[in-house]
Amino acid sequence: MDIIGLANYAVFMAILIGIYALLALGLNIQWGFSGLFNAGIAGFFAIGAYTSAILTSLPAAHRLGGFELPLLLGWAGAMVVAAAIAWPIGKICLRFRSDYLAIATIGVAEIIRLVIRTEGWLTGGVRGITGVPRPFGDLPYMQSQLAYLALVVVLVLAAYLLVERQLKAPWGRMMRAIRDNENAAAAMGKRVAERRLQAFVFGSALMGLAGALFVHFNRSITPEAIDPMIATFLIWIMLILGGSGNNRGAILGAAVIWIIWSVSEILTDRLPTEIAIQAKYVRVFIIGLTLQLVLRFRPEGILPERQHGTSPPRS
C-alpha cells in the first residue's frame, strides 16, 4: 500500500474539511446560537471567494481585478465584503419568522449567483476567475498541500477559539436567551433585532473567509462552485449531524460528512464496472440516509449543545 498517496489524500480531505468546518461554524453562530435559518450559505461563500480572487489575482482584460494585493488583505477583504453584504440583507430579512427567513435567504443566494454569472465585467461571468495566487503554491505537490493545510488549521482553530469565547461571554447567553424565548428576552430589555443582525453578520463573515480559502486552494473559481447542493445543503447536514449549538459538533460534523462523501466513492468503485456509473449516486443516498437516521435516533446531533449554568433543559 502506498503510504505517501494515502497521506496526500488525507491532507487534501483535511483541507476541505477545514474549509467546510469554517462554513459550519458560521452557520452555527446563525442557527445554533441565534436560531436564524440561513439557507443561502452558498451566496456568502461565493462573495468571499470572488472578493479575495478579485483583490489578489493578476490583471485580466475582461473583468475587474489585477490589484495583486497581499493574501491577508484578500482574506480580510473577503470577510469585510461578506459582512457588508450580509448587513442590509439581514436588516430587511431578519424581521421574518424563521421559515420565511429561509425562503428569503434562498432567494438572496440565487440573486448573488445570477449576478456573478451575468456581470462579466465584475466577476468574469460564466468563465470565472483564474490565476488566483496560492500561498506556498511553488513548492512541490506534497509540501505545498501540507503548508496549505497548516494555514487552514490555524484559521479554523482561531475561528473556533474566538467563537467559543464569544459564546461563553454574556453575548452568548443573551443570544441563547433570544433564541429560546424572544419575548422574554425583549421584556428584559434586550434589543432583539440588533443582536440577531450581529449574529447574522458574524456568521456570514466566517462563510466569506471559507470562500476565500477555497478559491486560493483551487487557484480559480467559476459559478459552478456555488451549487446549493454542495455549498448550502451539505453544510446544513454537517451541522445537524454534528450537533447544532456546539462548535466542536460543527467541526466534527464537517469531518464526518465529508469523509462519508469522499470515501464512499472509493467503496463504490469496488463494485463491478457495469454499474459503476449508477453506483456514483449511492453516496448521495448514503448522506441522505445518514441524515434520516440521525434525525430519527439522535436529533440533537453527535455532540449535543452543552447546558450552561443551571438553566433548565430546552424543550
Binding site: 500500500m1 505517501i4 498517496g5 494515502l6 497521506a7 496526500n8 489524500y9 488525507a10 487534501f12 480531505m13 483535511a14 476541505l16 474539511i17 477545514g18 468546518a21 445570477l114 454569472r117 451575468t118 461571468g125 460564466v126 468563465r127 470565472g128 483564474t130 490565476g131 496560492r134 512541490p140 505537490y141 498541500q145 488549521v153 482553530l157 473556533y160 486552494f217 483551487n218 487557484r219 480559480s220 473559481i221 467559476t222 459559478p223 459552478e224 462552485a225 451549487d227 454542495i230 455549498a231 467541526i251 466534527l252 469531518a255 469523509i259 462523501w261 469522499s262 470515501v263 466513492e265 472509493i266 467503496l267 468503485d269 464496472t273 459503476a276 456509473i277 456514483k280 449516486y281 448521495v284
Partner: protein, 401 residues
C-alpha cells in the same frame, strides 16, 4: 481539532482496508473523470462509454506495454470544483493513475488541473472542457484537450456567415460558459469583418417562454438569428417560439443546436432555413471506424462529445505506450503520437500502432473528432462544417474556414 485529526485518520484507514488488494505490476491505470452526477448527468454516460471502448480495444489487441492491461478508474467530478478536485485527488493518490481523461466541465478542469494534476505531474486530456480560460492555464504542458476552444468555432462561424452574404444578425446565447464563450468570439470576429450585430442577449436555462427576449432581439431589424444553445434543451424552445411568431427568417446554430430532437419536434418542412455548424473529422474513415465500433458495443455515436472522449482515451493509451509507461515523458509522447509526420493510425488500430511504436517508427493518430495536431497550449484547431436539415438528419453543405 483532535476530533478532526482522528476522523481523518479513520478515513485513511478505511481507505487502506478497502484498497489492500495487490495491484498487478505491469498494469497501467488511467482516470476517467466525468460529470456523472450534476448538470451534465445526461451526457456523461455516453462519453464514459466511448472512452471505455478505447480502453477495451487496447486490452483486446495485445494490451499496453509488456502485455499489461489498461485499467480505468471512474471518478465523479459532478461538474463542480469541489467534487472534481476530490475525484482527481483520489485518482492520483489512491489509484495512482498516470493520466486522466476529463473532467468534463471547464470549471472542474480548471480546479482539478490547478490544485491536483499539474502539481502532481499527471497528464490531463479533457474531451469537453471548451472554455478559453483553459488555454491560459500555467500547466507545465500537462493539460490537453481533444475538443477545440469555443473561440475557434465562434470565429469560424462568423467568417462563414460573412462569406454567405449575411451581414446583419441577432445573437441569443445560453448564459453558461459554452453559450457565452461562443457568442463573444462570434461577435468579435463578425464585427471585425464589418458585420452588424443588431441584437445580443443572453438567456437563462429552462424558462417556459422566451417570446419577450425574442421580441427584443427582433427589434434590431435583423432577419437572421444566431442561437448558441443546446438543441435538446432551451435552444429548441427558442427556435420553436421564433418560428411560431415569425420573428426571424433564417436561423443559425452551433454544434449544440445540431440535434435530431429539433427535427423530430419541429419537422423538416419548417426547418428549410435552419443551419448549424458542427465539428467534423477530416479523415472521415476515422469517424466511420469509430461509429462502427461504438455502435457495435451498444453506444450511440451521435451523442455529443463521444468522439472527443474516445480520442482522448486512445491518445492517452498511445502516449503511455510511446513513453514506455514513464510519467515524466507522457506529454512529450502525446505530442509525438498525435502530430504529423508519421504513419497514420485510425481509431481501433491499436495492434498496428503498438507494432510501429515497438519498431521505433513515428505514428500520427487521426482521430474520430479530427487530426488532433496540438498547438503550444495543448489546444486543437477545430475542423467544422456547415450543415442543413435533410430528411430526418443533417447534411454537410460546406466546409468552414
Amino acid at each position: 481539532m483532535n476530533k478532526k485529526t482522528i476522523a481523518t485518520l479513520v478515513g485513511s484507514l478505511l481507505g487502506a482496508a478497502v484498497l489492500a488488494a495487490p495491484a498487478h505490476a505491469q498494469n497501467v491505470k488511467i482516470g476517467l473523470l466525468g460529470g456523472i452526477s450534476g448538470p451534465i448527468a445526461a451526457m456523461a454516460p455516453s462519453m464514459l462509454d466511448a472512452a471505455r471502448l478505447a480502453i477495451a480495444q487496447v486490452n483486446e489487441q495485445g494490451g499496453i506495454l509488456k502485455g499489461g492491461k489498461l485499467e480505468a478508474v471512474v471518478g465523479d467530478s459532478a461538474c463542480n470544483p469541489q467534487n472534481a478536485t476530490d475525484a482527481a485527488t483520489k485518482a492520483v493518490n489512491i489509484d495512482r493513475v498516470i493520466a486522466t481523461v476529463g473532467p468534463h466541465c471547464s470549471g472542474a478542469v480548471l480546479a482539478a488541473a490547478n490544485s491536483v494534476t499539474v502539481p502532481a505531474g499527471v497528464l490531463m486530456v479533457t474531451p469537453s472542457g471548451t472554455s478559453p480560460e483553459i488555454t491560459k492555464l500555467n500547466d507545465k504542458d500537462l493539460v490537453f484537450r481533444t475538443v477545440s476552444s469555443d473561440d475557434y468555432q465562434g470565429r469560424a462561424l462568423a467568417r462563414t456567415l460573412k462569406a454567405r452574404g449575411i451581414n446583419k444578425v441577432a445573437v441569443a446565447y445560453l448564459n453558461n460558459d459554452y453559450g457565452k464563450g461562443l457568442a463573444e468570439s462570434f461577435k468579435a470576429e463578425f464585427e471585425a469583418g464589418g458585420g452588424t450585430i443588431a441584437g445580443y442577449s443572453g438567456h437563462e436555462d429552462g424558462k417556459a417562454s422566451y417570446r419577450s427576449d425574442l421580441a427584443q432581439l427582433a427589434r434590431g431589424g435583423a432577419d437572421t438569428l444566431v442561437i448558441f444553445d443546446y438543441g435538446d434543451g432551451t435552444g429548441l424552445t427558442i427556435l420553436r417560439q421564433a418560428l411560431e411568431n415569425n420573428f426571424f427568417k433564417t436561423f443559425i446554430g452551433a454544434d449544440g443546436m445540431k440535434s435530431e430532437a429539433i427535427i423530430r419536434s419541429l419537422g423538416e418542412k419548417n426547418l428549410t432555413t435552419f443551419f448549424s455548424s458542427a465539428p467534423v473529422g477530416e479523415a472521415s474513415a476515422s469517424l466511420d471506424a469509430f461509429r462502427k465500433a461504438f455502435s457495435a458495443s451498444g453506444g450511440n455515436p451521435d451523442a455529443i462529445f463521444t468522439t472527443t472522449s474516445y480520442d482522448a482515451a486512445f491518445l492517452v493509451a498511445l502516449a503511455i505506450e510511446k513513453a514506455g509507461g514513464d510519467k515524466a515523458k507522457l506529454s512529450e509522447a502525446l505530442r509525438s503520437v498525435a502530430s504529423a509526420p508519421g504513419e497514420p493510425i485510425l481509431p481501433g488500430e491499436w495492434a498496428k500502432a503498438k507494432k510501429l511504436i515497438a519498431e521505433g517508427k513515428d505514428i500520427d493518430y487521426k482521430g474520430a473528432a479530427g487530426d488532433h495536431e496540438f498547438d503550444k497550449a495543448g489546444d486543437v484547431p477545430g475542423q467544422y462544417a456547415f450543415f442543413k436539415v435533410s430528411g430526418s438528419t443533417y447534411e454537410a453543405i460546406a466546409d468552414m474556414k
